[in-house]
């Protein structure tokens, strides 16, 4: 009998988030995929999910989920888990879904694996692939009894088309607990960013501790601008307060897969490598020839990023002008 996988679909601008559709496609490859959609646009979104792999969609169209974070969704999914026993609940690693998963895990004593890049069933045993550091891949399992949670790494899977498939829609009608309407969104602010967003950029130039100080980061930004790309940063320099969190490669939702990734003064900590190793071409500049970043670089230069970057920016501009 095929296993049933649930996928919680995140709504973005009235549509299913791409990251959720990627997970839905993977679920449909594993067995029977069922989606859960919660929010004021849930009904419209639900009707589109068949062609992305869903055979059934649980829908609760209610704005409470848009206005109050985490708890209403945890209540509704917990209620569904009392009625059904899917093998897995799968979620994309995003800000909101991560918060929901953390609470579901405890409330329903589920067991949870994060950062998965692949899932398979070996008979009844789930095998989840989790990259670990630069060198290892861990195969993790969850108990066969009960429903487990797997959070998958962004961009681990492509969006799959299941043309002609229509999903059965089950409309939910839970009474939402007023006690759970506590985490209230007061307003949403979009911050304009220059150049392409990190996660969409085809070229990313990133800086790390090897730049010495925050004032030198402009060298990274200038090369990024010359290459028509985005500037990124390591957790170390974000932690040190040089740059805001939004620059960090490897943070929640910020796995990047550009065509070109230029790592400047970055040694290659595990979390950073995990966030950028899928790049097509990697160029690294670092003073320490033993830095782990060189193990993933297609082209590496052992040298000081501070002296090489301005020359490289100039050279890129010169060649682009010809």
């Amino acid at each position: 009998m095929p296993k049933t996988m649930w996928v919680l679909i995140e709504i973005e601008d009235g549509k299913a988030a791409r990251s959720s559709l990627e997970v839905l496609g993977k679920a449909a490859q594993l067995g029977r995929a069922e989606a859960i959609v919660l929010g004021s646009a849930a009904a419209e979104v639900a009707s589109t999910l068949g062609e992305y792999g869903a055979e059934k969609v649980y829908v609760h169209a209610d704005a409470t989920y848009d206005n109050y974070l985490t708890l209403p969704a945890v209540d509704t999914i917990s209620m569904l888990l009392k009625q059904h026993q899917p093998a897995l609940l799968m979620l994309a690693t995003t800000y909101d879904l991560r918060d929901i998963a953390a609470r579901l895990n405890v409330r329903n004593n589920m067991g949870l694996i994060t950062d998965a890049t692949d899932l398979t069933f070996d008979g009844d045993t789930l095998q989840v692939t989790v990259p670990w550091g630069g060198e290892n891949v861990v195969t993790a399992t969850l108990p066969q009894q009960g429903t487990g949670i797997v959070l998958t790494r962004p961009k681990a899977f492509g969006v799959e088309q299941f043309s002609g498939r229509t999903a059965e829609i089950e409309t939910l009608n839970p009474s939402l607990d007023a006690e759970s309407q506590k985490i209230k969104i007061l307003d949403r602010v979009e911050l304009p960013s220059e150049g392409p967003a990190l996660e969409d950029a085809s070229v990313i130039v990133s800086g790390g501790r090897g730049l010495g100080k925050a004032e030198n980061f402009h060298l990274v930004e200038e090369l990024a601008a010359a290459l028509g790309g985005a500037a990124g940063a390591t957790r170390a320099i974000v932690d040190a307060g040089w740059l805001p969190y939004s620059y960090q490669v490897g943070q929640t939702g910020k796995t990047v897969k550009p065509t070109l990734y230029v790592a400047c003064g970055i040694s290659g900590a595990i979390q950073h490598l995990a966030g950028m190793k899928g790049s097509k071409y990697i160029v690294a500049i670092n003073k320490d020839e033993h830095a782990p970043i060189f193990s993933v670089a297609d082209f590496g230069v052992v040298g000081d990023a501070l002296t090489i970057l301005p020359r490289l920016t100039q050279e890129v501009k010169r060649r682009k002008a010809h």
């Binding site: 800000y95 991560r98 918060d99 998963a101 953390a102 609470r103 895990n105 405890v106 409330r107 004593n109 589920m110 067991g111 949870l112 994060t114 550091g133 060198e135 290892n136 891949v137 861990v138 993790a140 399992t141 969850l142 487990g148 985490i183 209230k184 969104i185 007061l186 949403r188 602010v189 979009e190 911050l191 967003a197 070229v203 290459l227 957790r235 170390a236 974000v238 932690d239 307060g241 805001p244 969190y245 929640t252 065509t259 900590a269 071409y281 500049i285 782990p292 060189f294 193990s295 670089a297 297609d298 082209f299 590496g300 230069v301 000081d304 090489i308 050279e315 890129v316 060649r319 682009k320």
Partner: protein
């Protein structure tokens, strides 16, 4: 106001290449340099800043870990934390997010804080699943990915990082708050802070003190199992050159060869 900060000692992410022990399938922690998670230093600093703004408040560091974690707690105290609580027990080895949240929540239950601060995720495991788990055990709301925190009366209001900007989110106290890394500049311990740390209250507890059954934590309580550790598919080794003053040209040549310019 009581602000409790959950912290963790980890292998120094700036010097240690983390390894998995093929036998225990756990992170190798012996023979490596251990530090207070740098993300937690930022989180502690956020708590101290808030304490000093509100006044008449205390910051308490809370952790579970082996005896070596005392060092990390002393650093937290030296940074300006008022007191520290560490749970150490052999049965805790191999705990998953559920087990870790269970233990930290048990400490916090007894302490009845107004605010519980955590980093959004640790720098070694980075699952980010413990703070929400703690909130669920304590039946408290959670404000996550905060880059700014304000307390107004009986409410906490944060600016919450999103992919494209931020949200302003509020909830009633008490609550769990997670701090986005890099949002608060870390305080460096002063000599006075380091000396003063030795006199601050430091409570060490075992599982029995918390009334937790050892079968609910550690490897015994963990739902997840590591079945195998394999080698990652290695990228083909690239070319590495030493900078001789012409490496900018060499990089540009590489970019042009693969039509990246």
């Amino acid at each position: 106001m009581k602000i409790h900060v959950c912290v963790k000692q980890i292998p120094d992410p700036n010097t240690v290449v983390s390894k998995l022990d093929p036998n225990t399938k756990r992170l190798v922690r012996s023979g490596v340099s251990l530090v207070l998670d740098p993300g937690d230093e930022s989180t502690i600093s956020a708590a101290i800043k808030l304490r000093d703004t509100i006044g008449n408040s205390e910051v308490v560091a809370v952790s579970m870990g082996p005896t070596s974690a005392q060092e990390a707690m002393r650093r937290a105290l030296a940074m300006g934390v008022d007191r520290a609580i560490l749970v150490t027990d052999p049965a805790l080895a191999g705990s998953d997010a559920l087990g870790t949240a269970r233990v930290l929540a048990a400490i916090l239950q007894n302490e009845a804080p107004d605010l519980v601060f955590c980093s959004t995720e640790s720098t070694d495991g980075y699952t980010g699943m413990v703070p929400g788990g703690i909130a669920e055990f304590l039946n408290l709301p959670q404000l996550t990915f905060a880059r700014e925190i304000n307390v107004e009366g009986a409410k906490a209001i944060i600016k919450r990082v999103t992919l494209t900007g931020y949200q302003t989110v509020e909830c009633p106290l008490p609550t769990v708050v997670t701090i986005a890394s890099g949002s608060f500049e870390a305080i460096y311990p002063t000599m006075k802070g380091i000396m003063g740390a030795k006199k601050k209250p430091f409570t060490q507890l075992t599982l029995a003190d918390l009334g937790i059954d050892p079968s609910q934590v550690g490897e015994a309580g963990a739902r997840e199992r590591v079945a195998a550790i394999g080698k990652a598919e290695a990228r083909a080794a690239g070319q590495v050159i030493k900078d001789d003053g012409n490496s900018a040209q060499a990089i540009a040549d590489f970019l042009q060869r693969y039509q990246l310019l």
